[in-house]
């Protein structure tokens, strides 16, 4: 009986501390395996209890009282208790915090230890999303003794303990026999980092890997599908892939021009050409698997004729020229080539510039020095970014900001759905960005493996339920 697993990942995490860096690759290794939070995401995106067995919300929605599990210990042997929760949350929201998602904790006014197994979190304003926020990898609970070294020697409460990290090659972890919860089936797990898609394909084919949960080359999936040794697992992610437009830049500040751009793009051919058919077309910034999703693709249906008319109407009968900056992922690089060709058809000339992430963050995201860019927003439920002031696509229309503020303060599900749909409608009609497709999670695994996540509500490779078939 096989009790170990070797997983492939395209990107190597820069370090293993999910509370100190943004890289999704960190969560892909440690989330739910090594580190746990008060709450966690299930494979369907639902917020489930984790280190907090249960919680209660006060009448006014301002105080959350979490009851913690008992008997949990950190991998270094120290006990887990309410003090650790306070420490972790205070650390994340502190003045000198280096938490990449510090905003998640912005609404917390105070964390109070009621007893070793009870913590009360007081908010400055009601926030129905707190359990959701605490499920993020950035909100995992760490111990004061080991927090500083988590980057290289992560110590959490999860079912696996960290064993070894050969930088540039792999991270190894072994089963934590003192785990407080249900024991996991696997005794050890290895995450191997293979950035090159060809090499990934070869490694999978050669049997060096048992699974590649997010396989980087969708074009090769046909071959895996044809091979009975492998299972191709296709699911969804939280990644809305968009052609972001710089709303603050002439002529993209003109909604007519933006609509022209949206209509010049044939989503299906991008999905086919860049993603080899994997991906769901979207017409707004919202995940199609979310119950509140509205299909607005018709608002920006492919229509080059109309696109040219709109351009003429906006005063650009001969089109215009701008830049298209592409970060490294294949969806951007490949999609960019196709979009450039499609835009050229209606007279818009784009100059493609491939940039690395660090460069993208500095020039596009922070410096807003771009015309178009393609990026996948992988955070769950992130339509709120359209309300941010000075965000990189520079929208933040007051009406929309008001809408989002109202949403934040609302906890009634029906009302929330309504507000979310209004928000979707508004950005789709304004064509803030051109909405392309929801990124698919395309994984490959040994046909005998059971229990791998199909979808990706957050970037994680939760191994707690994984086992080998007899």
């Amino acid at each position: 009986q096989n009790t170990s697993i070797t997983l492939g990942m395209q990107l190597e995490p820069p370090n293993l501390d999910p509370t100190g860096a943004a890289a999704g690759a960190i969560d892909e290794v440690v989330y739910a395996n090594i580190f746990e939070g008060l709450t966690r995401f299930g494979s369907d995106g639902a917020v489930l209890p984790a280190l907090a067995r249960e919680w209660e919300v006060s009448e006014d929605g301002l105080v959350y009282t979490f009851t913690l599990v008992e008997g949990a210990t950190f991998h270094d042997g120290t006990a887990f208790d309410a003090q650790d929760v306070k420490f972790s949350l205070d650390r994340a929201r502190a003045e000198d915090s280096t938490n990449a998602q510090k905003a998640l904790f912005a609404s917390i006014a105070d964390v109070e230890v009621l007893s070793p197994t009870q913590v009360a979190i007081t908010l400055s304003a009601p926030n129905g999303a707190l359990p959701f926020n605490l499920a993020w990898g950035d909100a995992v609970i760490v111990a004061e003794e080991s927090a500083a070294d988590n980057a290289t020697n992560p110590v959490g409460t999860g079912p696996f303990r960290f064993a070894d990290w050969v930088q540039g090659d792999r991270v190894e972890m072994v089963r934590n026999d003192d785990y407080w919860g249900e024991a996991v089936a696997l005794e050890s797990a290895t995450f191997k980092f293979i950035s090159d898609p060809t090499a990934a394909f070869a490694a999978m084919m050669a049997g060096d890997l048992d699974a590649f949960p997010t396989f980087p080359a969708p074009e090769n999936l046909i071959q895996f599908e044809a091979d009975p040794r492998y299972n191709v697992i296709v699911g969804s992610t939280e990644g809305e892939t968009i052609l972001a437009m710089n709303n603050g830049l002439e002529p993209l500040n003109n909604p007519l021009v933006r609509e022209a751009v949206s209509r010049a793009i044939d989503r299906q051919s991008i999905i086919d050409g860049a993603m080899f058919g994997y991906g769901t077309p979207i017409g707004t910034h919202f995940a199609p698997h979310n119950p509140a999703y509205v299909d607005l693709t018709e608002l920006s249906a492919f229509d080059p004729e109309r696109s040219r008319e709109l351009l003429a109407e906006a005063g650009y009968p001969d089109g215009f020229t701008t830049t298209l900056k592409l970060p490294p992922p294949a969806y951007a690089r490949r999609g960019g080539e196709i979009i450039a060709a499609q835009l050229r058809e209606v007279g818009i000339t784009v100059e493609i510039q491939n940039v690395e992430w660090a460069d993208w963050l500095e020039t596009v995201f922070r410096g807003r020095d771009y015309g178009f860019t393609i990026v996948s927003h992988t955070e769950p439920m992130d339509i709120g970014i359209y309300a941010r002031d000075g965000y990189y696509f520079d929208y933040a229309k007051p009406e929309f900001v008001a809408l989002i503020d109202e949403l934040e303060a609302t906890s009634d599900e029906g009302a929330r759905t309504d507000l979310m749909q209004q928000a979707q409608q508004m950005i789709a009609e304004e064509h803030v960005n051109a909405y392309l497709f929801q990124l698919a999670k395309t994984g490959v695994a040994d046909a005998r493996l059971r229990g791998l996540w199909e979808n990706s509500p957050t970037q994680a490779n939760d191994l707690t339920g994984v086992s080998w078939a007899e």
Binding site: P197, T198, F201, A217, E219, N220, I222, Q223, S269, D272, G273, R333, R334, G336, E337, I338, A340, A341, Q342, R344, I352, Q353, N354, V355, E356, D359
Partner: protein, 273 residues
């Protein structure tokens, strides 16, 4: 004597040069128009070498790619020669002087940076582009030409005809231009063709790792990079750009060899052994 190498090499390199020039006015298909339904077609009567993952005609892409490759390689040879040869000539004219030392140590310094490192640094600095590739390969070429021309010039400086020119009151610059340069031209031409072929290879490598030509400009190296993950699905996508590189480099190298035979009869002279 015109050797077989020279003819074969000339024909091969000429072929690519013609394709590159022709691509300005005509290609079988437009390389900027995509046709997703027609992607990854095998070679056929319509698409002589098949199509790529975005349905573009590979033969047309190769033609335009030839333009990129040849232009990058040529430009980098021009940079290398343009900077390296004057440096080498100056160093030779000031042999054993401080300037000579400074130039040659500078050369050693550049030489210590493999071209790919230069390219990586440039890319990080200004982003990837054809210019970046040209500059990286060009800089890498500088010490090659500087050393070559210095070495050759040094051996000429001890010749009596240089002495005669000095007796005629000519200065170092004038002698370098009138006597040295024409007499090392052969050597430079031969080395030029070789660096040209090296340039094509390096450009392909740089584009392959994403440091060279950027889309939508077709480039052989990038075509290979694109073909990489598709190699078992559409091997022709990897085969033809690779062959284009091999044949053009081969052509230039053969031409270089042939030219050397023409210029340097010493190699053909058999001596008593």
């Amino acid at each position: 004597m015109i050797s077989r190498n020279l003819i074969l090499g000339g024909v091969l390199s000429g072929l690519f040069a013609v394709l590159a020039v022709l691509s300005f006015v005509w290609t079988p298909f437009d390389v900027e128009t995509l046709s997703i339904p027609d992607r990854m077609l095998r070679p056929s009567g319509t698409h002589w070498l098949g199509t790529d993952q975005l349905g573009r005609d590979i033969f047309s892409m190769l033609m335009v790619g030839a333009r990129t490759s040849l232009a990058v390689a040529l430009a980098s040879v021009v940079i290398g020669m343009g900077v390296g040869v004057p440096l080498g000539l100056t160093a030779a004219a000031r042999r054993d002087g401080l300037l000579d030392d400074v130039i040659m140590r500078g050369n050693d310094l550049i030489f210590a940076f493999p071209s790919i490192l230069i390219a990586i640094l440039f890319t990080a600095l200004v982003g990837p582009s054809v210019w970046n590739a040209i500059l990286a390969i060009g800089i890498f070429n500088i010490p090659v030409f500087a050393r070559l021309s210095r070495g050759a010039a040094l051996s000429l400086w001890s010749r009596e005809y240089i002495m005669a020119a000095r007796v005629a009151g000519k200065g170092a610059a004038r002698i370098s231009a009138e006597h040295i340069l024409p007499n090392i031209a052969n050597l430079l031409i031969v080395q030029g063709t070789i660096q040209f072929s090296v340039g094509i290879l390096v450009e392909a490598a740089l584009s392959y790792v994403g440091l060279g030509a950027q889309p939508p400009l077709p480039s052989w190296g990038r075509m290979l990079a694109d073909a990489q993950t598709l190699i078992s699905l559409a091997p022709h996508m990897a085969l033809f750009p690779g062959l284009a590189i091999v044949l053009s480099v081969l052509g230039l190298n053969l031409m270089g060899d042939g030219l050397r035979d023409v210029f340097d009869p010493k190699l053909k002279r058999g001596r008593a052994r």
